[in-house]
Symmetry: C2
Subunit: 457 residues, 2 copies
Amino acid sequence: MRYSVAAAARGAAFALFVSLTLPAAALSAEAEASSDISSFTLDNGLDVVVIPDHRAPVVTHMLWYKVGSADEAPGKSGIAHFFEHLMFKGTSTYPSGEFSEAVAAVGGNENAFTSYDYTAYYQQVAPAELDDMMRFEADRMRNLVLSEENIETERQVVLEERRMRTDNVPSAILSEELNATLYENHPYGIPVIGWKDEIEGLTHDDLKAFYDRFYTPNNAILVVAGDVEADKVRKLAEGTYGAIPRGPDLPQRVRPMEPDQRTARTVTFSDPRVSVPNLSINWFVPSHRRAEKGEFEALAILSEVLGEGLRSRLYQELVVKQGIAASAGSYLQGAAYDYSGFVVYGEPRGTAELDAVEKALVTEIGRIKTDGITPEELETARTKILRDQMFMRDSQTRTANLFGATLATGGKVEDITGLPERLAAVTTDDVRSVAQRYLDLSRAVKGYLLPAEEKRS
Amino acid sequence: MRYSVAAAARGAAFALFVSLTLPAAALSAEAEASSDISSFTLDNGLDVVVIPDHRAPVVTHMLWYKVGSADEAPGKSGIAHFFEHLMFKGTSTYPSGEFSEAVAAVGGNENAFTSYDYTAYYQQVAPAELDDMMRFEADRMRNLVLSEENIETERQVVLEERRMRTDNVPSAILSEELNATLYENHPYGIPVIGWKDEIEGLTHDDLKAFYDRFYTPNNAILVVAGDVEADKVRKLAEGTYGAIPRGPDLPQRVRPMEPDQRTARTVTFSDPRVSVPNLSINWFVPSHRRAEKGEFEALAILSEVLGEGLRSRLYQELVVKQGIAASAGSYLQGAAYDYSGFVVYGEPRGTAELDAVEKALVTEIGRIKTDGITPEELETARTKILRDQMFMRDSQTRTANLFGATLATGGKVEDITGLPERLAAVTTDDVRSVAQRYLDLSRAVKGYLLPAEEKRS
């Protein structure tokens, strides 16, 4: 079976942001593609987005549920991700494994992932198989068998996954507690996979209630990208998903929000398994949904100029010029409902001290806050985003991902198609302004991953 | 009006622990007093504790609700404390102010306080007024008028209280975010008074639901201490509180618990209003209810030896011998349902550096973990607790406080009366053992309060 927890790792979340900015530019540059995109809603509330792509006889079928770990009740962490496992067990219609075998039998791929804000399931198959995929996926939306045996089996798998991916990985241990420190009130401070004791405590009733509440057509988004037309998708969707009755209306997703933070914090994990130390400086910023007009795009350009890629300021200064860092950069977390993370990081090279890397990072942050960026840097950042679209266009999955993640975090199709214009409107002043507003060291959380013998006071 | 938020400040929580250990010793030393204590439960579920004390014609009447900020729903912080205010508004029986005027008219005192685990209301009056106090207190348990006008008026008072006591007080700002960092999952990380935005968002429906759920006789404890006998209290309680119907059964108080923490954290607040810097080293330890047998008592003795009072190791070493600290010590937070805090603190004197104070604190912590304490220190700590009882015995309020706080956090009367024996059973090995188990610097949260010009990396 193929499971993954997306967005629990910073890299995964980063990928989502790349997805968010790049294909939008792609869609603008190739208007014929974007004009083909259509979206509609079935009578039972299921939102559908169709992204035709006829370059190859392949279709990507993704079902996104607007529920993630941040929607869990207190003390029930891990329940959203638990379903990523349970959904591969049997239903009252098909025994366990039959769906996966059907995908494998036609040479397809499948996977699933869970984030703070959504849970998604997908298959990539030949267009002729789309109807079957929809039938299987619609079936497990409502007919899952939540037997005690399935629950206990998958609980052990999830606990093993947690041991392997978090408890045995120093950077993941640090990341988990760093998030818990960065978010003082919002559930983004709780890990997507869940706290161990709470995974152990989830009951059949917890799972049943969660399934009945959130696994409904009116809480889902169907994204189909590939060698297929909207009319065909609509017909197939109506014949499969369309038969499922609408579930109870869900209240707006209101999570406890962050207070006005005023302290600087550090989180340090020292472990013998760490050979090279590293540090990160972390802030949360408004998500694309919550940001003021233009703010999120300015943050994207800020991150691009400051620390994305080999031509960025951080790489050029710390890695190339000073030679003190093996890596240095920044990233902005992508599609999220309430907050995105803005992260600056560095890792010393050779005999350089972590302190020296930190000082250099802080200097560059100070410089971009004081002096802003140049018109040339702004233009280069925009061009880079436009150029990167070429790589993006090759991936049906990433394109489908973008639409699913955007819609599942409160965005609209137009938020994607309109992004190039919004990027074009960003000025150098906007970038300096968001740097000054958000990159405040007196409210940052720094994370230190250290070899066991190193000590910081 | 007289309001206070107890246990939001560390000092207040400390006071509770002092209350917890001292009167127990008192009760043992003066057996006649402890043997008079009686407890019973009314038919509607109200628990009653009576502590006769005939030295003066005074009686302390306290009503404790087993609900505090840690019982609030996510996003609804501050609601428990909000009631501490609303309960002084009018009921359907008496207009606003009538209860307080009645207390003042007979020369009495009244007050109320809210903690993570309880909300309590009390009056101190002549015994003849006890019946009246019960009548008023029983009335507002169920007949409070939750008008929009009362709510809005008190919301402004609460917000002003928050501004005055937290947002304008550097040490309180630090303390709030330090707790949010120390508790990664448990609601003890959320301030008792509530986050500003959440106080602003509380609705009439939120308050009404909270009142109906938690303000019931079967969720309350009546503590009466003073010049009165149990029979009389029972008769009065039955005639007043006894008329209130039992409320719905409440589920066990299960809060999200802490994961296995593995990182060292710091929280730093720098502000121009800070003249002398200070630091604290913070851990959470099991509450008296959750601790293994003897563990909480060993922690109490550990704190006593390490840092309580002028003869403690920290005071003697840092203040007297080295002369680098203006103050240095430790304390163990008291009556709590899930976790207690163990805190070590210090403040430099004159030109001494904060770093030097921190190093000295860390050295003493290391020493007590390695070598433990001497039999003489153990004996002195026990004797000190027994001696301190004399001061305690003078306060009816503190005695009533002890019983209320203990019972409201899941303890029993016998937990108090049996404490001297449990203290006597603690060995020097037990103390070293809890020091090694809990005072782990790789999992501590350090708090730094700094003048604005100072910087820490």
